[in-house]
Amino acid sequence: MINWFKFASPASFYPLAGKLWPWFAALATAFCAAGLWISFFVAPTDFQQGEGYRIIFIHVPASWMSMFIYCVMAFWAAIGITFNTRLSGMMSAALAPTGALFAFLSLWTGALWGKPMWGAWWVWDARLTSELILFFLYLGYIALTSAIDDPRRADKAGAIVALVGVVNVPIIYFSVKWWNTLHQGASVSLTKAPSMATTMLWGMLLMALAFWMYSIAMSLYRVRAIILEREHHAGWVAELPEMQR
């Protein structure tokens, strides 16, 4: 059995993250290459939206990631509050910028899709508004945690934002069902057959996998910087090979 608590210590997670991130980066590149190929060269032209629909291949994966990363942040927040582990707060902090970026990209690509199809860059529809709130929750988390000098207290305050804010994720997801929105309903669901061509679905899933692997690689990379920033007085940091000259 793996002793998970061993990896909960920053001293052993720092080298582990260093070994892992290149693999996830390589997977992200491979999935991205395959996903882009399908997005532009395999998936057929849409009969209603022409070539404009191709925005879906990044819009949907970016939106999924923005919601998923927030859930992972909330998970680490819960672990941090329950077990008082230092690494949990560092993981949340490492995920927040990437999540914020995906929330922004979801809104950005949505605007670029909305303009030609709806005739508006933005509408105050339930789906768009709740995604905007998610973006602000990320920014709020980042602003709050960076405003508090003591990292442990910053983690605790951030954990509250992450845990309270996570109720917004199902609101985003179900907004298209609960309210009468201009935004279309879910294209993919677990209960019924997807309402799109198989090659389109594959392109979207591959791009989603690419963004997922990217997010893992990026958060592992960023958490190493956070670990060093916070543990700089620890003995193990001074003994790291990259600290010798």
Partner: protein
């Protein structure tokens, strides 16, 4: 294959601005994030190396002053 020529590909059936605006900004943003994060780790390491070197210097100086 959907495209007869490169210019057809870049035109995206008249949606070029929207499609390339989405893909371009997305990949530019991911690249910038990766570069900024790499810089953050490199800067932290440089700062820590300098701190450690200063500590070692102070220690040896202190040791050499002892009678």
């Amino acid at each position: 294959m959907n495209w007869g020529s490169a210019s057809e590909f870049f035109a995206m059936g008249g949606y070029g601005l929207y499609v390339w605006g989405s893909f371009g900004v997305t990949f530019a943003a991911l690249l910038v994030e990766a570069l900024l994060t790499r810089k953050r780790l490199a800067d932290t390491r440089r700062l820590l190396r300098r701190e450690l070197a200063a500590d070692r210097e102070a220690l040896t100086e202190h040791a050499s002053r002892r009678p």
